[in-house]
Symmetry: none
Subunit: 245 residues, 2 copies
């Protein structure tokens, strides 16, 4: 394989050049870009093996851009973000990103991830499916990221709705961390237009209630999906994560 070419997309010039230089020094050809148009230009003018995409691109939303790019072309994309709050956003829905890395990052880790994704991309025939797939285990339960399904422990028989599953995913991605209703709502709405700063009613409460009813042994005394009074909710359960190829 020839020298890998990657596109560094960030609106902060400092970070952009920092990243570009870092990858250049590590044997990549790294091209800087700041806007969606520039990205498209690069994609048209030459081969790009991977895109490093900032989640916050000025007032643009990296997630949206990713979704658009993905529809048009199969480029591996790795998200980069400064805020862990964004992390939930990513956990909430697969947008087609191949991986996700939080700033500030460990350079070695970053390199490793980039290489891993490119490896994977080379093996995978159709890239359309590529995205981070993770399976979570908690209690006797399993969330199967591959099928996006929840499997109950033994005898149980449940089927979660789409939204319930999404909520569960957000919780699983943030175990033991109290999440406010707003944070949860934001994570759930990644799939949407991305502009819903409006105050939402009690939708989250009801959703939580319904999920409890389905996954808690005794919904009246929730063991996993606990409420953090005055704050929001916590998933108080250890979760084992499994990354899949």
């Amino acid at each position: 394989m020839s020298i890998p070419r990657l596109l560094v997309v960030d609106d902060d010039p400092e970070i952009r050049s920092m990243l570009t230089q870092f990858f250049q020094q590590n044997g990549f050809i790294a091209l800087p870009a700041a806007t969606e148009d520039q990205v498209r230009a690069h994609l048209k003018s030459g081969r790009i093996d991977l895109i490093l995409l900032d989640v916050m691109l000025g007032d643009e939303n990296g997630v949206e851009i990713c979704a658009r790019l993905r529809r048009e072309q199969d480029v591996p994309i790795i998200f980069v973000s400064a805020l862990s709050a964004d992390h939930q956003r990513m956990a909430g829905y697969e947008v087609g990103a191949d991986d996700y890395i939080a700033k500030p990052f460990n350079p070695q880790l970053l390199l490793a991830r980039v290489r891993a994704v490119m490896q994977r991309a080379r093996r995978t025939p159709s890239l359309a499916y590529r995205r981070r797939i993770r399976t979570f285990r908690f209690g006797g339960w399993v969330y199967d990221g591959k099928r996006d399904e929840v499997h109950a422990p033994d005898g149980y028989q449940v089927s979660l709705s789409q939204r319930e599953t999404a909520l569960l995913k957000v919780l699983l991605a943030n175990p033991h961390i109290p999440l406010t209703r707003d944070e949860i709502a934001a994570a759930l709405d990644v799939t949407g237009s991305g502009d819903k700063p409006e105050a939402q009613g009690r939708a989250i409460d009801v959703l939580v209630g319904r999920l409890r009813f389905k996954i808690e042994a005794n919904p009246k005394e929730p063991q996993m999906l606990r409420t953090a009074r005055g704050v929001g909710y916590v998933f108080a359960c250890d979760v084992a994560v499994e990354d899949e190829a």
Copy 2:
């Protein structure tokens, strides 16, 4: 693994340099920092394996800083404190600290703890889980840190409210030590926004009363939750502590 890099955060220059030198002499790369901004700067500019964080950073609250950092990045954090009174603060709520050490410390112990935490961090995939879990036993009672629940001795049947449980945790962390109402309130509110210097009414008294009613055999003559007249309250009961992996 390469040389471990750790960040020493303290506003007292003397302690800062003392610690930095100590760790340098023991084969670490130790970087000093005094403010939250400096911490962030370091995190951005390079790999940091562990943070030693003073509980009192001038008028800032180390606990708050820890909570903020934790939300953004998974760095192991060890708290350092001069006052045992601060201990309550830590017991009040798990903020995500990996360990807690009281000044003045035994250098060997400090080294051991630092190494232990770094070991643990390396094994743990997602650091988001890491937090100190402790189980307390007193009288026939048990506080189960894993579930954050209180179990009554035999036949008894009680369920403590969240706040009552929190109060109990504060007391259990400081057996035989008289705590003022302010200290208790501070410890209870670690979870909150952190800015409540206002004088609080008799809330603590009432809370203590309710807890007594639930856990004392004869609430009128409390054996464990004694009042220290003119001071506050004492938990006059031997407590066995169990650390969990």
